[in-house]
């Protein structure tokens, strides 16, 4: 299997140094503002999680719809890349690029609070979560008919999953919500920031992450043709 799309995503990212710098600097500025601003640690963890996940979801869905509207998405598929490969490779490339761009912000958020091993674990959780966010962005893009709809659907979907992951709630370990949170994709990232923030972790946060790392790629592959068709229709509209 050739990773042409992953490679081209890297080239596109590197070809726009100003955007690359902004994508690094904006999260850094936000994380600095929160960490230096004396925000309560629980709130800080929520802000970081929301920031990183929206970064991944928007960063995937909006360029995808823009490419589809320009006709590039259809051209790539006509050119010989199967839809499932295109969507998966975009998500892989986007996830890695997003992860690299968020690395400085993550490092600032975890500075002085974690060991090297814990930091490596934090990086892996970040990459996995952002990859899921990218896959989510692909699926959401198929439902949208414009950039505005894409932004709206991305925000609604990501925020709903963040809510289900317990990001906006005080932990309720003995309630049925605990199970929902354990099965949700972004609890691991949130718990990582909570752990960093010395509030402590809850349950088995990696379970949801693993489930979604299996389910979303499978869903993307199964739905690749309808997604491509939907994006093609958007381009024709």
């Amino acid at each position: 299997m050739k990773f042409l799309v992953v490679a081209i995503e890297f080239r596109r990212a590197l070809a726009r140094p100003r955007l690359l710098a902004l994508n690094v600097m904006v999260p850094v500025m936000l994380v600095l503002a929160v960490s230096l601003g004396g925000a309560p640690k629980f709130h800080a963890a929520a802000v970081y999680t929301v920031l990183f996940i929206l970064f991944g979801t928007f960063g995937s869905s909006i360029p995808l719809v823009r490419d589809a509207e320009a006709g590039l998405f259809g051209r790539i598929i006509r050119g010989g890349i199967p839809p499932s490969h295109l969507l998966m490779q975009r998500a892989v490339g986007g996830g890695v690029i997003d992860g690299l761009q968020l690395l400085p912000a993550l490092t600032i958020a975890t500075l002085g609070s974690v060991s090297l091993n814990e930091w490596i674990m934090a990086v892996l959780i970040l990459w996995s979560s952002v990859w899921i966010a990218n896959l989510l962005g692909n699926l959401v893009a198929a439902l949208a008919r414009s950039l505005a709809e894409t932004a709206l659907f991305s925000a609604v979907t990501a925020l709903l999953l963040l809510h289900l992951s317990g990001v906006f709630r005080t932990p309720l370990p003995d309630s049925s919500w605990a199970l929902v949170e354990a099965l949700s994709p972004f609890q691991a990232l949130h718990d990582m920031f909570l752990g960093v923030s010395s509030v402590g972790t809850r349950g088995e946060p990696l379970l949801g992450l693993f489930i979604w790392m299996l389910v979303l790629p499978a869903l993307t592959v199964c739905l690749a043709r309808p997604i491509a068709s939907s994006l093609g229709t958007a381009a024709d509209a």
């Binding site: 042409l4 070809a15 490419d67 006709g71 051209r75 598929i77 006509r78 050119g79 010989g80 890349i81």
Partner: protein, 321 residues
């Protein structure tokens, strides 16, 4: 010539292999009128087929149908190329949209599409730079596409359709945006590819380009193939007569049917239409006869036999541009 439905069942060139075939293909966009009606078309190795028609006739949709992208209401697209997935490996398509990776260079774009279609990495660079030289893009190979002119983007689009040496090329308005030198270079490339066995189906309003290249011409109007055949067959059917369309003041007495030697008034329902085999030499004779008949002449249009006149007679419409 009356408008007639002519099913396209032209036989394959002797000994050549059929690449793609549309059989009874009917297609409409959701909740829209029919776009393609009873399309029967077979394209064989080495053929250059031209689609000629007004805007909205269904030419671009037919090209997309040949890409097997459209789900027909009835009929099917079949052929040896269609069973191969992904289709981009054997089919090269240059549509109307010139979408590229705008932040990357032309060479990077072309290299990507070559590799996507299965060209090996080592081979891709040679093919890309060879074609860039042929279409006159060498100087811009390492410039980002966002800095390209419209014509350069069109050249790059054509190059990307050609670079993997597909068995079938589907080109939508391939000469739009091209300067005369690039247009000639494209004609040479297509002719060479055809000689090597690739088939080309192209939709265009560039009649000179079509006359220069096409083995077979399909005239399409309102989704139907209304006339088809080789250029010589179509022009033979059309005849060699020159037509003059004379716009006149309607206040005149009845005119004779024949105006001197071999000049016939074939239509007086609107502008007067004269037909003659003597070419433009007959014009002064018509002119003086009309003046003698006290007809006030408002304007004259000369229509020599050719694809434009063929199209006009078959469809009753003017070709754009």
């Amino acid at each position: 010539m009356s408008r007639a439905k002519i099913n396209e069942t032209v036989a394959m060139k002797s000994g050549l292999v059929s690449l793609i075939k549309a059989s009874g293909f009917n297609y409409r966009y959701p909740s829209g009128p029919p776009v393609l009606i009873d399309i029967d078309l077979e394209v064989s190795e080495g053929e250059i087929v031209a689609l000629l028609g007004p805007n909205g006739a269904g030419k671009s949709t037919l090209l997309r149908a040949l890409l097997n992208e459209l789900k027909p209401d009835s009929g099917a697209i079949t052929g040896s190329l269609i069973s191969v997935r992904p289709s981009g490996v054997l089919i090269g398509y240059a549509g109307e949209e010139s979408a590229h990776f705008n932040s990357l260079t032309g060479a990077q774009n072309a290299h990507f599409f070559a590799r996507a279609a299965g060209v090996e990495k080592d081979e891709a660079s040679g093919l890309v730079f060879g074609l860039m030289s042929l279409v006159g893009l060498s100087d811009e190979a390492d410039k980002v596409v966002s800095s390209y002119s419209f014509g350069a983007k069109r050249k790059l689009l054509l190059l990307e359709a050609l670079v993997h040496q597909p068995k079938l090329l589907l080109l939508d308005e391939p000469t739009v945006g091209l300067d005369p030198a690039s247009r000639d270079a494209l004609a040479d490339i297509l002719r060479k590819r055809s000689q090597e066995g690739s088939a080309v189906v192209m939709a265009s309003h560039d009649l000179n380009f079509l006359e220069q290249l096409a083995d077979r011409i399909l005239v399409i109007d309102r989704g139907r193939i209304v006339s088809s055949g080789s250029q010589s067959e179509l022009l033979d059917a059309l005849g060699t007569a020159t037509r003059f369309q004379v716009s006149v003041d309607t206040d005149y007495k009845e005119l004779p049917r024949y105006f001197g030697e071999d000049v016939e008034l074939v239509d007086d329902s609107g502008p007067l239409v004269f037909e003659t085999s003597r070419g433009q030499a007959a014009l002064p004779e018509i002119w003086s006869a009309l003046i003698s008949a006290r007809v006030k002449i408002l304007g004259v249009e000369v229509r020599e036999p050719g694809l434009a006149e063929l199209f006009r007679r078959v469809t009753g419409k003017e070709l754009p541009g």
